[in-house]
């Protein structure tokens, strides 16, 4: 197990009004992402617990690209990772931000 925490500045606040969303599953090669709208509008935080060890640099790159592409301001992501590949992580993060931007609770 390894834990990482990344803080980023986002260009703008994530859209929508939904407060939380959750997507994915904790399984081998997969991950679960909980996203909460709890931070100031220009901040973004990602907390990662991963089963795989030694991928800090890749996590840093994946999360930095994600913030640059989607500008998820005001969101905190808690990630429970079962050793997913970077492409799966990118997809789940994109899905999480899309989900919280959608209408409804």
């Amino acid at each position: 197990m390894e834990d990482f925490s990344f803080q980023h500045r986002a260009r703008q606040r994530a859209g929508g009004t939904r407060q939380t969303a959750i997507i994915g599953v904790v399984a081998s090669g997969n991950l679960e992402v909980l996203v909460e709208r709890v931070l100031p509008d220009v901040e973004c935080q990602l907390e990662i617990k991963t089963a795989a060890v030694g991928f800090g640099e890749v996590w840093n790159a994946v999360t930095a690209d994600f913030v640059a592409r989607y500008s998820p301001g005001g969101l905190k992501f808690s990630i429970n990772d079962g050793g997913a590949r970077p492409d799966t992580v990118s997809l789940r993060l994109a899905q999480a931000v899309r989900l919280i931007e959608e209408d409804g609770q």
Binding site: V58, V62, S90, R98
Partner: protein
């Protein structure tokens, strides 16, 4: 000069029938073991020793799917003192016996096209010097050489049934048989067929009796490998996203109607998204209607939903026979109702009459060269190098072909400009066991250096590849104007592989502004749609339901 040389080698009495006489002698030797044309299975090895001569070129029918397994065992059992040094010219090296022949010294030299299940062993044997390798061909290329410089002396083929005269019924898996027999029988070679049964009257004549010299009835049906079945249950969301990118980023804008799909989960995902995602995009009738394709079970939902008009097949697929029979509007079938496949014709169709080839690979380099060869596995290429190549002899226009040609050469005169076939490599940036799809140097080149090959075994050359699709986006290489742009377009969809992370970010962003690279968000793809609920079938059982119970999956795919 040529004529006098011929006369010298032929001695004082010129004869032009030496091949015919040699063939007659072989047939006479074999006939001592036969009643009519029929040889008992227990005499099959003696038949080989009677008919096959040292150094012969032998085509042991190993197709993509159908295997002449009885005859390969019979050949393996010959006395190597009598039969040795054979030159095997066969499209598929699939059974262990195919390589055991080289271990025993029965065979020496090999020219082939595909070696899927034996890929690791063939690599070891090449390194160990057990096999003299001619070349790894594409199917159509090897078939062509059967008629020029690799004509078999003996062909060992497989059919479903034969009558007493030797008329053969090859059933749905006709595959390579007509081509192999044509080249052998009409050039003084001997054709030996193993059949599952001898009957009074064959359901249809696939091979006429006068091209068949001996028949051996096998105790069990010839082996067929279900190569084209992909279980929808194993398709990942990353593959679904990649498939959506292909549909929205390539199929739709080019209006691709005539195409070939390679094997793999990415293309299976595309097939299963047509009736759902494709329908939602309003693409029915506009894309994916005419295929050169094996009968992929994953295409059943699209066929049942009215997407597909016509499919011509290289071979059949285990479990699809009854479904094909019931859908003769879609498939090519004989008067008996069953599929008529033909690899040579279907490869020709894929080369000349399809506007797109889309398939996966194992490695892509910075120029877009692609290969499935790795240092420990030489899988061969099958049909991909042929269908994944621009047909320089093509002369008929079509919308996708002209559009692609225009993108590659916008300044050229429209009336003189060649079109381009869309050659698409699709895959996830990290493959099986997290092995990166993108590399600086192909293993194929390392292998060629180690084995002193004159040519690296490249599956698809970079200058034929028009698009690369990964979960990160679509790279359109037609729009790249120089090698630097091309390299950055490839790096720009290479994800978090080392190649991807080595990109020039500013240049990739500029390429994106020119639509050379298109991301899911550029194409308006909602990442939440990358969900397994989007697949028209999520299991093999779903495919059986879609087929109205006509698809009968092999037991290894049944988990209910």
């Amino acid at each position: 000069m040529l004529m006098s040389t011929n006369a010298e080698t032929r001695g004082t009495t010129t004869t032009w029938r030496r091949g015919r006489e040699a063939r007659d002698a072989r047939i006479e030797a074999g006939s001592r073991l036969a009643r009519g044309k029929v040889v008992e299975a227990r005499d099959a090895t003696r038949l080989m020793e009677a008919v096959v001569r040292p150094g012969d070129r032998v085509c042991l029918e190993g197709d993509n799917q159908k295997q002449a397994d009885l005859l390969s065992s019979a050949l393996l059992a010959v006395d190597p003192a009598k039969v040795n040094g054979l030159h095997m010219v066969q499209s598929g090296v699939v059974l262990p016996e195919h390589l055991d022949l080289f271990d025993r010294g029965v065979a020496k030299r090999l020219d082939y096209a595909y070696s899927g299940p034996q890929s690791a062993r063939i690599a070891r044997m090449l390194f160990g010097g057990k096999i003299e390798l001619g070349a790894v061909h594409t199917y159509l290329e090897l078939f062509a050489r059967y008629f020029i410089d690799l004509t078999p002396h003996v062909a060992l083929i497989a059919a479903v049934s034969a009558d007493r005269e030797g008329n053969l019924y090859t059933g749905p898996n006709t595959e390579d048989t007509p081509t192999v027999v044509e080249a052998t029988a009409f050039k003084d070679g001997v054709v030996i067929a193993q059949v599952n049964e001898i009957v009074d009257r064959v359901p249809r004549v696939d091979i006429p009796a006068d091209r068949v010299h001996f028949i051996v009835e096998a105790e069990k049906p010839f082996f067929v490998e279900p190569l084209f079945t992909r279980d929808p249950a194993a398709i990942t969301e990353g593959q679904i996203l990649t498939a959506m990118l292909a549909i929205k980023g390539i199929y739709a804008p080019y209006g691709v109607q005539r195409l070939n799909h390679g094997i793999g989960f990415s293309t299976a995902a595309i097939e299963l998204l047509l009736p759902t995602y494709g329908e939602k995009l309003g693409l029915k009738g506009k894309i994916a209607s005419h295929f050169a394709l094996n009968p992929h079970p994953a295409l059943i939902p699209a066929i049942e939903s009215g997407w597909v008009q016509q499919i011509h097949s290289f071979g059949s697929e285990v479990g699809m026979d009854e479904y094909i029979r019931a859908r003769s509007d879609i498939y090519f079938t004989g008067p008996d109702g069953s599929l008529r496949s033909n690899r040579a014709f279907c490869q020709t169709a894929g080369l000349y009459a399809c506007d797109m080839f889309i398939g996966s690979t194992l490695q892509i380099d910075l120029q877009g060269n692609s290969s499935t060869v790795t240092t420990s596995r030489i899988a061969g290429f099958g049909g991909a190098p042929n269908m994944g190549a621009d047909a320089r002899g093509r002369r008929h226009p079509s919308e996708p072909w002209l559009k692609a040609g225009g993108e590659a050469d916008p300044q050229g005169s429209a009336l003189l400009r060649r079109g381009r076939k869309l050659v698409v490599q699709i895959g996830e940036t990290f493959g099986d066991k997290n092995v990166p799809l993108f590399v600086e140097k192909l293993d194929a080149i390392t292998l060629a250096e180690k084995l002193n090959l004159e040519l690296a075994p490249i599956m698809i050359y970079g200058d034929d590849v028009t698009h690369i699709v990964t979960e990160e986006g679509v790279a359109n290489l037609l729009l790249c104007r120089d090698a630097v742009e091309r390299e950055q377009a490839i790096r720009g969809v290479a994800g978090y592989t080392e190649v991807g992370r080595g990109r020039d970010r500013n240049m990739v962003e500029r390429l994106r502004q020119r639509d050379v690279i298109r991301r899911p968000e550029d194409l308006g793809i909602n990442p939440l749609d990358a969900d397994r609920s989007m697949l028209a079938a999520r299991s093999i059982k779903d495919l059986v339901h879609w087929s109205g119970g006509l698809y009968a999956p092999p037991s290894k795919f049944r988990n209910w």
